[in-house]
Symmetry: C2
């Protein structure tokens, strides 16, 4: 991999990283429909982004468009996938095989986004020993041993909130370097452990608040 | 409701709205542990927020702390709940009763965050007529009639990506005013329809990218 790419990856803004998978999804659909080249304004129009922003975002991948022609859609898809690291697949362990955990295990296409859940863990007798799709639910007491043996670096946390901090600490001790946290708990972990929060409640709050504002405006 | 509160709600920054449910979650836990008053620095320390930011965020709710004492925890919880509109509960319809849809139906505590899923819809014979918890899965062809009759304003979209736009349009026609979109599709809807996106893939992208960077740094 070229040094230039590595450097740009270090300073890429998070909003860009969040938009790139959306471009990727759109581009793959366009490719399926037979599109061969595509311009930044078209991408921008489809995804409601300023074309200048689209050009900036895509420049991080190192793929260049041609004037009046646009981007080669195959090159662009490959470029985004490589840039995001989606061309390699990390193994992931999930802890908390309840409804949300099961949904994530069965979520389509995670694999094409750079990771694959290879085992789930829980402590409840009701679920330990069962399967979700082709993923086994194991007892959490074998988590550390397996994570070390298989060098698993990504952990997905879908436990009840009250055990989240404890489970996250165990994950870190087992060598997990990145935790995708679905609980509302603000995790406190040793430096170097990456935490990505997906708070359902925060999203709900924004939605309900906006709806409240709108309904009130209409009433006024 | 006081005019002052309504005005401040109109201009409240989205990051504040996203943090308030996290404060709320922490405060409820502290209350359960017998805490009666709490200061902004303590809240900030627990949630890794600058205390000045905590004071700013909480000021939007209209609840005031007292010097050297802090906030009355009961007042503060009530204040945040009222401010976010969580003291009322919106009915919501969910479309797409697959794994993710089922997980959301069974997600704990949504009700205390301002909404309740009262019915789910799908088109697959495998799931129409079944139940998720105490929520019935109905055929999507009765969505419009029921949404109008029950004046449902919130729709949750957990369908496959390829039908997302079409279903969202049907939702809007049925009077849905706010859509919580879990698909990677950028929805195009009439003005006035609120869309809140929760893109699993964007979150994955950020996580995988950060992990890539870190593993590379350690290797260098």
């Amino acid at each position: 991999m070229k040094t230039q790419e590595k450097d740009s990856r270090d300073i890429v803004p998070e909003p860009t990283v969040k938009r790139l998978p959306l471009y990727l999804h759109f581009l793959k659909k366009a490719k399926e429909n037979g599109v061969l080249t595509i311009s930044a304004p078209i991408i921008g129009q489809e995804l409601e982004q300023d074309p200048t922003q689209v050009v900036k975002d895509l420049a991080y991948t190192g793929v260049k468009g041609r004037p009046r022609v646009g981007y080669n859609i195959y090159e662009l898809i490959k470029g985004i996938e490589e840039f995001l690291g989606f061309n390699q697949v990390y193994d992931a362990f999930l802890v908390g095989a309840g409804n949300l955990g099961s949904a994530l295990i069965n979520y389509p296409e995670f694999r094409s986004f750079g990771f694959k859940i290879i085992a789930a863990f829980d402590i409840s007798d009701d679920v330990v020993g069962t399967q979700r799709g082709d993923v086994n639910v194991l007892h959490f007491n074998v988590f550390k041993e397996l994570a070390s043996k298989l060098k698993v670096r990504i952990g997905i946390l879908t436990t009840p909130a009250k055990v989240a901090q404890e489970v996250a600490e165990q994950m870190a001790k087992a060598g997990i370097r990145a935790i995708w946290n679905f609980t509302p708990v603000k995790l406190k972990l040793p430096e170097g452990v990456i935490v990505q929060n997906t708070s359902m409640y925060s999203n709900v709050a924004v939605l309900v608040m906006k709806l409240n504002n709108q309904l009130k405006k209409n009433k006024d």
